[in-house]
Symmetry: C2
Subunit: 338 residues, 2 copies
């Protein structure tokens, strides 16, 4: 099968995503798809752009498809919503052949199958760089009409983490240094968890949904805050605490016992601060949250059994953020900072 | 105000799109926005990409913002759904200053205000070319759970058009020939409707909604077909008729009395076929539909009063498509055709 027209691409997508998903009243192929009405709908849009979010040099087409969906599903899960479907705006360069497109679709499909997601449609365009813009949605229970949000923390609340931080930054750091395919393969072999975290992050959507259910039954006051760590704790923690408006900070401890072994090994070899490295590292798609101290033991129980590390990072307090008892070294990532 | 960070851009967007839209249970600023549950939701995604869909040379920032939303609202309206909101994946080059971003937001806002749309959120990224990917949604009545679709035509049905075709192609043709700002201004002055059709198309969403309501009350059999003409009648008409599966075609008449004056003037001066030019022209965002002959008079009445031309283009028949009694010259536009 050669790719000579938009219709060829659509036929290829059809092979991987056959129509008939129960979440859709009308499938792809018309001006709009139609979503079955349900509870409140959590919606997010994330761009995954070549040379800004990924390099073709070390991302396989599968990785690109996988991660472009994963970063969106992460946001949906972090709202406490059950991920349901997505649409995709796919800007190609025109040089992608059938093998490339098949790999890309396989990667998307692997993530979609993991969470039973519908592909409701999208659009194709052509430009000089790849650009994948996904909009994903999920269903919230009627009793949780705003989902799990930021900005509900108070002094003394527990700051918790589901998943790990620092691994994706390590993967990025190491893969960026490679140029030949052989070097890239060596890095992937020596640092498998770091590379996987950067290339194919599996979002903690099940954990987010579990927290949503927990909030529905145990948190009448709406005091559980949650978000995913996409830009790094350094940038995301102030957002979770709504620091600018609330004046809240937190005392955070990123100690060796809760940091990934590969991050410890790398930082020790490079002679840098493990805690700062992990605190500033983005794209781990861990979940960071706040809750009243009294809720913590039971909340922690609701996060058990998913196979991810669950940690207490510290306590919310008035004033700034401290990391291991001192001021953090610097802020996180910004596409437009100068 | 200078643009030195993502937060600066978000603050600028906030100025144009204050929070508090009634369609949102949770506004921008969290991992997800939350949409108020309603009827079935029609969803569409369209990319608007630099040098593929627009040139900065003759599109103002306002035009870019306006059209990137308009092309999506057109799809929602063509489903018979009331447009409600959108999210945007905005890939900038990093060279856009406050004036540019303000113009862009003003253009988006002009279209959003026209249809009372919510901006639920989005994402920012950076690349070498502008790329705007919008996902828009609208609400369908419960009794029209798939909206207005393609592929419901039968032999003898009326093929109708709301709006005009050929103008946007003319605008594109003329603007592409300009290089200096002065030339561009002259073209805009000499061919105002053609340029406006290419730069700032106003979607026929009210007409689509009116047809949806009409279908709800008068079309128990689901026999009204509708779509917007984004790629030109040459490509879109076979899709409306589902020609490949149904084997249906149509006898179409694009006569001078239903074609725009500027298109007639240009084609006559250039010595080309007006009908072919208009038949192949994309991006007019007119609505093309099919309905049983018996429904047509009343359906036409439901389309009156919106200030757009409503025309009968012809009749559905078995076999191919004819244009003014002959085979059409060629097919429409494809981003990936070779």
């Amino acid at each position: 099968m050669s790719i000579a027209s938009e219709d060829d691409i659509l036929r290829l997508v059809e092979r991987f995503f056959p129509s008939g998903h129960p979440a859709l009243l009308l499938d792809r192929g018309d001006d709009c798809a139609v979503l079955r009405p349900g509870g409140p709908l959590a919606v997010t849009t994330d761009i995954f752009a070549e040379d800004s979010h990924f390099r073709r040099r070390y991302f396989t087409p599968f990785d690109i498809g996988f991660k472009s969906v994963a970063v969106n599903v992460s946001d949906v899960g972090a709202s406490g919503a059950v991920p349901v479907g997505l649409s995709i705006g796919l800007t190609l360069t025109g040089h992608e052949d059938e093998a490339w497109l098949s790999g890309f679709c396989e990667g998307m499909k692997a993530l979609c199958d993991r969470f039973s997601l519908a592909l409701s449609g999208g659009d194709l365009a052509r430009s000089s760089l790849l650009n994948i813009c996904v909009t994903a949605w999920g269903e919230l229970p009627e009793g949780l009409p705003r989902g799990l949000c930021r900005g509900v923390a108070r002094e003394g609340d527990v700051v918790f983490l589901a998943g790990e931080v620092g691994l994706a930054r390590l993967g990025l750091t190491l893969l960026e240094k490679t140029s030949l395919p052989k070097e890239c393969a060596e890095v992937k072999e020596a640092w498998p968890r770091a590379c996987a975290a950067h290339l194919r992050p599996v979002p903690l959507a099940e954990e987010g949904v579990a927290l949503g259910r927990f909030a529905l039954h145990h948190d009448a006051g709406g005091r559980i805050g949650l978000m995913d760590v996409s830009d790094g704790l350094a940038r995301d923690l102030p957002r979770l605490l709504a620091s600018r408006q609330s004046g809240l900070g937190a005392d955070i401890a990123l100690t060796d016992d809760i940091l990934p072994e590969e991050v410890l090994r790398y930082a020790s070899g490079a002679g840098i601060s493990t805690a700062d490295f992990a605190f500033e590292g983005g794209e781990d798609y861990a979940l960071v949250g706040t809750c009243p101290e009294a809720l913590w033991p039971e909340l922690a129980g609701s996060l058990a059994g998913f196979g991810r590390r669950v940690s207490v990072l510290g306590r919310v307090r008035a004033g700034g953020i401290t990391l291991n008892g001192r001021k953090p070294a610097c802020a996180g990532f910004d596409h437009f900072s100068r």
